[in-house]
Point group: C2
Chain length 580, copies 2
């Protein structure tokens, strides 16, 4: 009982050893992350089509809940770019942006996502996320980054716009191009340029000026805050808001409110598939970050408990005015670099944001949306990396096909179609490959006990003995292929008296494959050929013995292929070239 | 060009060598199969909910087309039990039995199935059928057999009835039980009993009376014809039709008519999924029979060309008043046993059935439907074999789960749900298994060069060297699992300086797995542990070299695990038990 509680409440183990040093480390990290999160949270809410405060709310209670249930010491949970984009796509189908229904749909999506993650955690289904292959994720992130950057162009130009695919987004901006606001463009371009420079050029400059590396890092990380402050002051001082610059406006000065997601079944049905995709994508993003950071300190995270931590965080978001959240890459790295020692750093960040939401929200009234768009664009363009296309092309055409499909469909048909098609295609290609495994006819390399492919090596064979080595586990999808290979090789070759199936790479034989082996055994028998097996692995052998197959086998099972050859060829047949 | 024609027209190769002996063999086989097919065709049309003549029509042109395009010498194409049941289920959703729309839907289903099979054949997609695993097919056939037998009970009892699941069928019969016709029951039960006896007892009896085996076989096979003749005469002589016995009635006395499937898009959309399932199930049934029979004569069939043969046959059915057809098990075996030498036997059977459809259809006017139901029941109960449940339970729980799901869902929710769920579940279980492969920590068996699992054997290990052997190809679904295994083993073990991944069973490393290996390499480096590989296969090594991974690898790649151990352990550390 106590073990079960401890398993589901990691806070009990790290909380007991919490000391003054951890406290001070966590506090410093929290201050830095809070400063970084304020503009980010506002910006991502904008990206999700929600009022700016939703981003702040989504960064308070979810972080607290994750601190209680999560296992990573450095993961910083909250709104992230891709999940915000997926949220906008999912909710855009069921409600109009800016309506009360839209906000409720966002809460419901967070609630569903939380429930899905919790259920997966309790059922230990973390492995499901593995079916999102690395290349598919990389392609998806790149394409999403492009979509996100494109979707923010409207704020830089000061025009209305919408859409969930690249064509829709660009078309919608193009249609309103004549309404573009020059002042907005100036703010947007300056902010974007400044932020790019901060990212690339500021830190080297500071280091050159003799600033200590850690301090230079903190200053560089607060670039977005500077951009926010400068453009806000400019809009206020020059009254640019009246000149057509879209501003954030009133943000309620309050702690996160208590909210309820909808329990309307139609809405739930419409959101359940997007919620599954958001949960999986968010989980994969989060777990990659958490594992990378944990490994640096030889620490462990528990994927199934992470599901519970993220599930609790999303439920927290659903009941406190937020929207779907997950562990973010950039902020977690900052948190880690700033020295966060335990999940308490997250809790302190939450307190910092709560203070900000009560005390500082009036300060962002004049903040131009173009500045927030600039922070998003600069952040997501660092995610865009089309090199996955060339890398996968060079490495493996199947991976390339999955990546290309994911990229094109994400850009052309939206995030949900893109990531689903990528997953489906990579599974289909894997099944296809295993359904047509590599099969080699092998012969003995002279003066060794090794057997090699007769097409690649000069080996010794014997006309009455044929050996095929199959480089895959035998299961239903390749069972018939195996039959075909063997019949293809043996039909028409009347000399053959013995056939050996070399099983060194066969990790499993399922019931379909067993039945194929039985069919092969029968058919070879009617052709006057004995079937033998060699190098069968222990667990496979156990199964075959239990099934009774070995009783009907016309030939023998040999421990090694060499023993098979010695037993099945007449003494000293003389070496013989394979090409005969 | 000529090659391409010859490839798609197998008739050109066997037709050229056709001689008198083949002709006489084919003719004898055709006569026997024709006699067997007349009652069977009528009965299966009844099962599909179509007028009796549709069964005859579906056995004429399709056989001719298959004879031109097919590659099996013995396969007999026509209506079969399971495809007839699936046809009834598919069309039952879009049209009322007995209406013109129902017959058109049957033609359309045959047309779609023909088109699907042809496209699969030209794209060489025959392998797709392999994803119907043997146990799933066995479970599906057994459950379908039960459904078919249950659906025929209404004819034996002489009551109306319908439904596509076991509960619907039995419920519908139960609701009408008070309408049962005693005379019909007597005919049905007698016919069923007689046919069971013919199947089990007649042949031994004949042999006992000194009849030659081949003759005894022919007589036993014509049992259904005898039952048909006897009950038809009884109904006619005793005027039982007026006494409430349902009879076949008017069957048009004509050759197959020219018909057109519908090109209505709504209908096509409603039938496309069932058409895919029917095509796959029909193809699997057909190819299994064809392969079994071909292998007995050391002949080959070409699966992709078989798709074209079956596709042409179904298109033929669509344009000549038929419904979906495939290669039937029982009739093909009879055809083979009767000595059919070439596909011409099929063509002669088609001629025989054409004569029957013109000359003999008036004779079946008084044929009771109960007799046809009896022939179906006796035929399909031989397909019912629940032992697949116990066999799969003993062999492999994953196979058992797929079989049980298929059986229960086929009985409970119908054929389409049943077979789809079976396929989906067997793929999901395969992916699950490969996503959590067997991983063993290995050590050296003393005085050998063999490495074995340290949990099973007394082996030599060294505290600073850990070797894991992974028994599966590395791909996206198990890449993260591999990372977890390795970190789980190494975190907390500060003695370890070298880690070897033994790759003897790794047939492939996809890009996801490569990235995991890169991540593992980096993380182990930050833990002060070198990563080595051993026993990497040639094609995998080629890929790794091309990717540049080996340049960053902190350790080495060893040809054998023994070399790895020799290189990585200090000279003579002394043997050490694994259990330390």
């Amino acid at each position: 009982m106590l073990n079960a509680v401890a398993r589901y409440l990691p806070i009990l183990s790290w909380g007991r050893q919490y000391d003054r040093e951890s406290f001070s480390n966590d506090l410093i990290a929290a201050v830095i992350v809070t400063i970084m999160l304020i503009p980010q949270s506002l910006a991502y809410a904008l990206l999700a089509g929600l009022p700016a405060e939703a981003g702040i709310y989504a960064s308070i209670v979810p972080i607290l809940f994750y601190a209680v249930f999560g296992t990573s010491n450095a993961l910083a949970v909250g709104p992230v770019a891709i999940v915000s984009l997926m949220t906008a796509a999912a909710i855009g189908n069921v409600a109009e942006q800016g309506t009360a229904g839209y906000a409720v749909a966002a809460l419901t999506l967070a609630g569903l996502s939380g429930a899905i993650l919790l259920v997966m955690g309790f059922l230990r289904l973390g492995f499901v996320a593995n079916f999102l292959s690395h290349p598919v994720i990389a392609g998806f992130i790149t394409a999403s980054g492009v979509l996100i950057a494109a979707s923010q162009l409207k704020h830089i130009l000061g025009v209305p716009g919408g859409g969930h695919t690249l064509i829709e987004i660009l078309g919608s901006i193009g249609a309103h191009l004549s309404d573009a606001s020059l002042v907005t463009i100036i703010i947007g371009v300056l902010a974007t340029g400044f932020l790019f420079w901060v990212r690339k050029g500021l830190k080297p400059l500071m280091l050159g000026l003799g600033v200590k590396p850690r301090m230079a890092d903190v200053i560089a990380k607060s670039g977005p805050v500077a951009a926010v402050a400068a453009t806000t002051v400019a809009v206020w001082a020059l009254s640019l808001g009246e000149g057509g610059v879209a501003i954030v406006g009133d943000v309620p000065q309050s702690l996160p409110p208590f909210t309820l997601p909808s329990f309307n079944l139609d809405l739930i049905q419409a959101l359940i598939l997007p919620a599954i995709l958001i949960s999986l994508v968010g989980f994969v993003e989060s777990i990659s970050v958490a594992q990378t950071l944990a490994a640096k300190k030889r620490q462990r995270i528990t994927p199934d408990q992470e599901l519970i931590g993220l599930g609790a965080a999303n439920l927290g978001a659903a009941f406190t005015g937020g929207y779907p959240v997950t562990g973010g890459f950039a902020r977690s790295v900052v948190n880690f670099d700033a020295g966060a020692a335990t999940p308490a750093a997250g809790a302190f960040t939450a307190v910092g944001l709560a203070i900000a939401s009560v005390a500082f929200t009036p300060l962002v009234y004049f903040l131009p949306k173009a500045t927030l768009a600039a922070t998003i664009i600069v952040a997501v363009l660092s995610l865009v990396d089309f090199s996955i296309l060339s890398r996968s092309w060079r490495y493996n055409k199947a991976d390339f096909a999955a990546v290309l499909t994911t990229v094109l469909l994400t850009l052309g048909l939206g995030v949900e179609v893109g990531v689903s098609a990528g997953v489906a295609l990579s599974i289909a290609l894997f099944l296809y490959r295993t359904s047509r495994p590599h099969v080699a006819e092998v012969g003995l390399v002279p003066e060794t006990e090794h057997f090699r492919n007769i097409r690649r090596h000069q080996v010794v064979t014997s006309p009455q003995l044929v050996t095929l080595r199959i480089d895959e586990s035998l299961y239903f999808a390749n069972a018939r292929f195996l039959e075909d290979c063997i019949y293809d090789r043996l039909i028409g070759d009347k000399d053959v008296k013995d056939f050996v199936l070399m099983c060194s790479a066969v990790n499993e034989v399922d019931l379909s494959a067993l039945e194929s082996l039985e069919a092969i055994n029968e058919r070879l028998k009617s052709m006057g050929v004995r079937l033998h097996l060699s190098e069968v692995k222990g667990p496979v052998m156990d199964r075959l013995e239990r099934s009774g197959f070995l009783k009907h086998l016309t030939g023998d099972v040999f421990l090694s292929q060499y023993q098979a050859m010695q037993a099945l060829t007449p003494a000293d047949p003389g070496p013989r070239a394979a090409a005969e």
